[in-house]
Point group: C2
Chain length 318, copies 2
Amino acid sequence: MRIVVLAGGIGGARFLRGLKKAAPDADITVIGNTGDDIHLFGLKVCPDLDTVMYTLGGGINEEQGWGRTDETFKVKEELAAYGVGPEWFGLGDRDFATHIVRTQMLGAGYPLSAVTEALCERWQPGVRLIPMSDDRIETHVAVTLDGEQKAVHFQEYWVRLRASVDAHAVVPVGAEQAKPAPGVLEAIAEADIVLFPPSNPVVSVGTILAVPGIREAIADAGVPVVGLSPIVGDSPVRGMADKVLAAVGVETTAAAVAEHYGSGLLDGWLVDTVDAGVVEQVESAGIRCRAVPLMMSDLDATAQMAREALALASEVRA
Amino acid sequence: MRIVVLAGGIGGARFLRGLKKAAPDADITVIGNTGDDIHLFGLKVCPDLDTVMYTLGGGINEEQGWGRTDETFKVKEELAAYGVGPEWFGLGDRDFATHIVRTQMLGAGYPLSAVTEALCERWQPGVRLIPMSDDRIETHVAVTLDGEQKAVHFQEYWVRLRASVDAHAVVPVGAEQAKPAPGVLEAIAEADIVLFPPSNPVVSVGTILAVPGIREAIADAGVPVVGLSPIVGDSPVRGMADKVLAAVGVETTAAAVAEHYGSGLLDGWLVDTVDAGVVEQVESAGIRCRAVPLMMSDLDATAQMAREALALASEVRA
């Protein structure tokens, strides 16, 4: 069974761990979001790719969900002593090594997809991880700060501002000119199932879908496309998805997110049991819907969610 | 009193600490060797500049004489886990931050001299530290390895091979096309004294003198030029200077090094008391010479060496 998963960071990575347990023999290709990549200290940082890689490779800081386990912060301390920031982005010493290797390889001319493959040789994530594009795409968020309209990098909005101000717009700068990375369209064309994990529908899955060709390839693949709601009981399970959903005019409900993806793309949708009341609404929009527990509280619960998604895919196919 | 010092790494840095104590009110400009600079992991590493900066700024690892105090090696461990080397060059986490800041600034378009000035704003070394050139110069060493003639980077020769094979030639690649960094010739022209610390006469002081214009500026400055022998009792005080001296056809003796610099450049030369026997030979070559203790065993001993050098300069001037 060939499964393609569109993944953002923490939610996508944790779901993938469950999926690997639920379908140990599946051939899983992960198309990773690179819209939240950022250049810091002259280094290329790919938070979502790294979160997937570290989580599946056993190097993740389990409590915080991102960054490396057993981490220290000497480099960051020293950069601050030089007066070099930003200080709001928490890069640890072990994590720095990943960005140093990546930046060196990019500088030597390797595309990000080749670099990601090389990094994964160490981590052995048990999936094929491909960045959505080798082209530079940066998600910017339009906000009003101190009475002034400005666009900030997604990381600045998310990490520094903690999404504390309204997002007027979310723009994946560069997406229109970007091409899917080698292997992305091929993986989709050969997939038996496409899954959207409970990742952020705007700045994670949405950014991947903004790369010209990817949305169309998924819609045209002729295989079940099943998603899991990141919204449970009208609020995000984690993160601040409500802020960016509002920016694209979508309510923070499990049903609204399904309708945002739309029946042209999505065949099946899992909502949490607390949202069982919306099943009928989603189905009336042409999307098969089931209510099942959607809290990734541990690996078993997450694997069960993956099984439910695969079951819904089978149901859709039948 | 304006003093210009041509400095390599450990020897130069320790001498400078003594000089600052001996002449606390002097205006000291250090022209730093950049021939042993190396690109590692995509980062620009300037070992000699950093050794001077860390030593005078209180950040040096005192025992080893290079690198930072209270150092950890997480980044290096991780790079090795990615299979990315070289592993023979010991960059610590704190040290990495310096190279990250430097590389970022160089990438942003600042010349090395401006970057060095910016780094020194943190370290406050109490001297003006200028790289010999903003142009790339790399000292390569011709060796025979496994029966094959090849040229290796100086750091590979020095650190990886520990100078265990003969050096056939030492070439400061790029020096011929290089220009002195802004401020170098001006500092020499305005100097009251020029000092050569007990640094390596070939790969430290020699490389600085290989930048077109620097040797001539020193020779033409019309001020006392005084050096301290790095050779004591026919062997280097530290390091493996004998290997690179042999490559340029110079004996490993205090007298031979003085004659290598030559009376056209050098006015005064300090040898260690154990080499008192060569004073006459050096003086017959037209270079004023004194035998004084030259072991930098502690700060007081080093300051006394600096006082002797300044005294010899006064004597030369008179």
